[in-house]
Symmetry: C2
Subunit: 342 residues, 2 copies
Amino acid sequence: MSGTLVFLKKVTIQDIAEALNISFSTVARALNDHPAISPATKKRVREAARKMHYRPNKLASSLRSGKTHVVGVIVPNLHVSFFSSVVHGIDTVLNEHQYSLLLYQSNESLGQEVKGIDTFLRSRVDGIIASITRETSHYEHYDEIRKRHVPLILFDRVAESLRVPSVRIDDYKGGFMATEHLIAQGYTNIAHITAEQDLAIATERLRGYRDALIRHGLPVQEELICKGPFSADFGRACVASLLDRKVPFDALFALEDFTALGALQELLERGVRVPDEVGVIGFANESFGTLVTPGLSSVDQQTVRMGEIAAELFLGTVSGNTPASVMLDPILVPRASSLRIR
Amino acid sequence: MSGTLVFLKKVTIQDIAEALNISFSTVARALNDHPAISPATKKRVREAARKMHYRPNKLASSLRSGKTHVVGVIVPNLHVSFFSSVVHGIDTVLNEHQYSLLLYQSNESLGQEVKGIDTFLRSRVDGIIASITRETSHYEHYDEIRKRHVPLILFDRVAESLRVPSVRIDDYKGGFMATEHLIAQGYTNIAHITAEQDLAIATERLRGYRDALIRHGLPVQEELICKGPFSADFGRACVASLLDRKVPFDALFALEDFTALGALQELLERGVRVPDEVGVIGFANESFGTLVTPGLSSVDQQTVRMGEIAAELFLGTVSGNTPASVMLDPILVPRASSLRIR
DNA sequence: GTGAAAGCGCTAACAA
DNA sequence: TTGTTAGCGCTTTCAC
């Protein structure tokens, strides 16, 4: 199969130069397609390089040129599908532009975040794309990146005070769209599940919910707003509480899909028909949304696109621009759980 | 907030040496905690380094020392939760040992895989951890890694012919366990959904299914084996076909969870009670398994652990060992969909 | 069109 | 205990 293993010895432009009896700087120029080198020499050099299994040493060229063509990416946790999708998007675009991606997980720890940035700075990355840790409350470590003239791009979790190009989704608009969609389907008593902590994504979606109700002349009923932890269980608990207390409601918008799913299941198990009696919509467009019955309506966060844009923002700074921040529009994904008008 | 931005100029050990009026090699040794340097000088050097915002240049030290402390990781697609979990595991262990992770997605394309390896080799990574592309049929590019004495570790998708340390899950055992579990629950007419292509994961799980039946004295009924594409839809189609043709069966083992979920939904929609009339089990332990009703039984592939082991295998080669390959045991995760004995 | 030479910022062998 | 020196493999300026 793989035959005998003949180990390769390291070969440098020096070796090629010697083999061809020319100077090593000519070899370097030929390999870099320098215009001042004759086509004939270029051809000879390239053939020799191939035959000798030459592989340029990026360390040497980076050290000399000051460019590594490496971008550092910091995410809280790859295990979360939101972040792995964004990294996927970042990588796709970077790869098209010959950049490599150095990855670091902060695990929502400030200490890890600082360590990641330190590693990137030592590695002399050409740029850093990051999503800030929940724990982060001061930003000196991010400031240091800029002090070293390393382009910094933030996504999703953004620190306004850093005044750095960033990309995130418009959570307010998402909350507004979800609620407006329910209203358009004829629902009028719309409950909402939000977070108990003071999280931007939660408060923005809540604000969108309130404003959509107001815009359409519906009352904001505080007893229809459940506050709790992010979880399917809390979705169930909220629905159970509303039903038990006999609070009338005919639709529910949960701040994220897992919570919405819990709510949906509780409704079904208690014999409430969805979407006829109660409509349900979530947020994030998790992959299970198409798999449950009825299909769970949601709001798509364009995660891959977010990554692509983050990478494009970085490429923008490289070509000398100072790109503006991008606010992505969420996309409504209506499915059976909230469609009662055919 | 972030105050005035004072840009930092590059500072090297030379600068520290000049500031302290000592030789730059003393500075280097002090920073590397060399035993021959007096505690006093070490302290002076470190303080100066901190004050001057010194950050060692990894490029220079790597070029000189021949070690980059970077490991290249190639995965087919980060977007797939299986792979992002493995990368999470790899990163966790590497990080503990001060290695950085350079990421590359092959997107199931041989060309990309070759390009990724080329990039890694140019970057002089200290090792490569990879899962082979579906498209890959020859292995010269992997062979080149070894010819250059770069440690190579494979996970999940392994090429035996490369004779390289690897880690994967025992799919045969997983298929066996799933089937045996159904048998233990008293099911006797167990259907199986497998892939139409000739994929190792599918044929191994199928083999486990057959052997478990045989071991427990049950007949292998070919009409109970559906072959089709991986998808929830095919799960539905298989169940529909069995029911329509009135083929008697009282349990179903699908080669992966999405397919199992489709099957489960088709059963429920047709009024078949799960697990009382028919038991269902999938494979992969996808996160939605706990979210559906009834909870979907599955077989866990220990993805994070697989990544951790891959990283440990790499660390093993670094410390001079030639680690053996690891076959991970799958873990049975019984949930309501297949539990009818309480 | 090609060559010579300096230097990027470190590590490490050799001196003192 | 500290200093001197020689590279690692490239890029790039200046000659010719």
